[in-house]
Symmetry: D2
Subunit: 357 residues, 4 copies
């Protein structure tokens, strides 16, 4: 209720600040007897880990996860899975400069207006560090979904540079530091982001997540629709500013006959001839690929001087030092994947509850 | 949990199908001693009512709402407010043709795959008729928010035709059948939509909702962020395919210094020099205008023949007769406003619970 | 959240006051394709209906329930089931005397202190009339549980008069106006309650509910234990003051060896040699009979004069006229049964979600 | 939802097993700017700590709590408070004997039937060790309630030996190892429990919790009544078998005129002349003392041999060695107090949300 839990039946609750002793997560509702080891989670955390290329933050965190409960002799027991990640590289002194002023574009001002107090070190609770726990929860969600459901994300736009969807090759996205599925775009992004970084600036990005193997029937009919829950999940990621499902914003300019995905039998099975719906009709999955996109704004922590005000109500200026992502959208890929995984796992359990196996 | 309730502290639950005897709504959590009469709700319902121009469905529903409980001597009592709207114009025979096949772009197939049964008459539960109840709940939400918070929506794009934001005039939107704030665009839309309608087709639209007077501090920090909840609320409206907050998708192409809204003191008060954030930072309102947009796809009920399949697994074709909206986005305006109002009222109560008055 | 909903996956929300136009209920989460007709609900409502003997209130309500949604061609559709019961016999004038004072033992004072307003007619929202909706929801819960689960309640004590458990015969409880399973006790209660009624007084009662056929595995391990949820469900019934599970209060005086139910194999199946646990261990059902008891206080609406105060802070006296139950515990039987049914149905769905079919 | 969280607005989620590396708790919804240090929590944990007298388990746990998040410069920040307690004295070998059989009266069988797997070491998740976290959450709840609300518990019966309520003296309960408010009863309990312990047996107990200073207006009217939530909270404590509010079970034998608490003005304020209601009418607090009782069964871990069965379906016998409480009700006192504190804090926030400050 106070906003630090996600999901209904597959539900996780996180705690921790960027510069506290540790961050952690409690995952409740995971079915029993699922094989689970720390390594199953670590492999996904390593994808989000900082310091892996020059295009992401240089903070050094090993992000080692420990399972504190809920697993016995290599299997989930059905009781809550407690996870803990120690904070290691917390240079709180970097933040002394900003403790009495509000960084433009950050949560500083909003937190202060709401709570009258804020842990300014590294952004405290509002730090993207919290998203490590989403990735951890997503790893467990994937276990619940099973191997039949595959959830993959990619960066499809950085600044003004879109990939060419015709060159989309999933195999490519692991071959570059951008999760880029279009090999021909990599060089452009390298030089563009290199320039952004050199200028002490930052830039936005668009991430697309595709889930295949999703069974039909997931989602609720009116207020907890699968697409609404995905929208909530993705918009809740730090720096997210827009979410699209299927044809998304382009739907505005489509006619009814262009938009509605026609159907034909393919042997025994109904199939769709297109996927403008993004795999969801009336809030419920159809069995097609679930396709969602999330737009990330540029990180607000930049070296370019900006105007701002102090807690005491004085005009001032700010340069945000520290070790920041020039393009947060890149590390947003594993986070966006994880959130989609969590939504799907939750709705899989919910559907099983109401409609049976 | 089964998806027919919305909100946490200000919470409403709806029931009813398009062609059943009635639809209804239970609003729980409204503070006591708020003056409330049926007319306070009716005035908003009338904005969404079908049959008001040739650009919306010609179904004839008076949409008269009755308050069954929760109001005593003209004031809310703090107990649940039960609302009922009788269905009047239910030509169920119109739907005999479609009871054994799936309309492309509709919820038919997804419902059938989930539940193994569906009330095909008028779309049953998936009908946009349910949104009347959202508007009713939104009317009560506005009462809770008080006169200081104003929530207004407008259509800003139909098909390829965008308004000119420089000509935005709120006073204009009541002067045309499109909720269009740009008087110069009205003629274009009239002729464009007239053509669409004549062709038995339909078209998408983009709606923008702006809430001013929202106090700072509303929203939760991690998973029930104000923007995430607005995204969920808007994406959950029938036919919605994308949601944006503030600069939205354009954030992707902004640099950090372009995007971060700078601050300056304006007398005693901090102010922002721009509003790319859309009034929300770190998931929490800042006191700026809250700005959200929702993209509606074209309605799938069109006279243009489409290919589809039957429940029995046979290829067939379909023309959807009946009385449908050529552009559902238009009647989406009061619904989108209502959903934003409900999210804000909920978070106002939540903030009061945790952070005091 | 605002307290007018019950359950998680099988969830119902009620609205309505004693003397408003109608009371109603929305049941969400019922599985699809369950045969359901109004008569399936009415049969249980008729058990709770007032005016059936001289030992209960003489208010005349036919309590006819209408299904407004969620059922199509005789089957549930998986969407919310809206139920409505019109109020008929609302003699609001009976209550003019009490509008400015607080009836001792009633909710009047508490409501007024909380909300600053109250619908005093017939107790408004606090009236036991609301329990009709619990019975209606319980009827649907029974459908979900299926014929294998049987939930039966009985009155086992009225005032000082306990039944003899050795004479317990379920067949007897339908043969008298008290739900009494001990035929030999009926005459005693008749004369005792007759006296109470003649004196314009009232008396408490103890109700026992037994559910057999409950599968093992229902309930959650720590905070939403099956016994905790039953306690919540039963204590939430109007006039309830205590809840016991299994040996209940007698456990206090038992030694460990007396209390712990021993086990032995019965062919292939483990069985218990006693049932002090009341069918629940560690918050989870074991497959034994689930046994719960709820103590009802005497109704506070009596003809005996009592001292009280007015809203304006003056001492006064009161006699509560109207048509009240001399022993509310009697009509509490179908309500207590219904609440246990709702808890079991909810946990059956929850268990299916997490642990599979 | 999966049952490891408690509360709505003041909400905590626990994780951890008796013999895992640690147990922990996440408290969400605490208001900001409340002074809070580890010592504020530790002082309550020390009351529940094992090994403090010969009448409780001899397990040696220092139960040192660490605050991992949510507190900054000595004050709560409004973000989740993460708490961790390391497990120290985990002699898992003690439990090898019982890994393949079900201890009568324990959760063993129920867990196995539900999950198909169980962490048998020390009872795993079902261990009363988890209640340390409830006490920790209760410590924070008390901070929220403030000094005006005082919550105190006492043991009022062990086995057949009741205290004399006429000798009740709160000052006495800290002077003996039983939380006994009747000094004259202490010697009786000492000799009685000494005998029980010598025999390797155990015995039940009744605990009473009294909260004074509770403001009127806490609680919801129908399903989340204050008394229903207290019943849920207390029945959810390990070994609880019954809960009473106010006159409780004795209400059954009271007449309406005996039961209904009369009112009189005391200067400006209405007062009640008795408190059979236990401070709650219609589910809402009246401002009187809130009085609740919880009956604890004897612990099932005893040295007396009992009959049971194995996982493989064979009859066998069992003696439960290890270090167990001869009367778990004693250490239940701080736990019961804590649960009542959590319910009150939750409803205080909820009431503030709906009805204002």
């Amino acid at each position: 209720m106070a906003g630090n839990s996600f999901g209904q039946l597959f539900r996780f609750t996180t705690f921790g600040e960027s510069h506290g002793p540790a961050i952690g997560c409690v995952i409740d509702g995971a079915p029993p007897r699922i094989p689970l080891a720390e390594e199953d989670i670590q492999v996904w955390l390593d994808q989000r880990k900082p310091g892996q290329s020059k295009y992401v933050t240089q903070r050094r965190e090993s992000d080692r996860v420990r399972i504190l409960s809920g697993v016995f002799e290599g299997q989930t027991t059905g009781t809550p899975i407690g996870l803990l990640i120690e904070n290691e590289d917390t240079r709180s002194k970097d933040y002394d400069d900003i403790k009495d002023l509000f960084r433009p574009g950050h949560a500083d001002y909003a937190y202060f207006m709401k709570y009258g107090i804020r842990d300014y070190r590294g952004g405290g609770r509002s730090s993207a560090r919290e998203t490590a726990l989403r990735v951890a929860a997503g790893a467990v969600a994937r276990k619940i979904l099973g191997d039949g459901v595959r959830i993959r994300g990619a960066v499809i736009q950085i600044g003004p540079h879109h990939i060419d969807r015709g060159r989309w090759d999933w195999a490519q996205r692991g071959e570059n530091p951008f999760w880029c599925p279009d090999a021909d775009m990599v060089a452009t992004w390298e030089s563009y982001l290199g320039e952004i970084r050199k200028n002490g600036s930052s830039i936005g990005a668009m991430v697309e997540v595709v889930a295949d193997g999703v069974p039909p029937g997931l989602g609720e009919p009116v207020y907890e629709k699968l697409d609404a829950d995905i929208a909530c999940a993705l918009m809740g990621i730090n720096a997210a500013k827009a979410v699209e499902i299927g044809a998304g914003i382009e739907s505005v300019a489509l006619t009814g006959e262009e938009n509605a995905d026609e159907m034909r039998m393919d042997g025994e099975n109904p199939t769709f001839l297109s996927n403008n719906a993004g795999g969801i009709l009336g809030g419920i999955s159809t069995g097609q690929e679930v396709v969602a996109r999330v737009a990330f704004k540029p990180t607000s922590s930049i070296l370019v001087p900006r105007r701002t005000v102090t807690k005491d109500g004085k005009d001032t200026g700010i340069i945000t030092k520290g070790r920041h992502d020039p393009c947060v959208g890149i590390r947003g890929v594993p986070v966006a994947e994880a959130m989609v995984a969590c939504v799907l796992a939750d709705h899989m359990l919910r559907n099983r509850a109401q409609c049976g196996p």
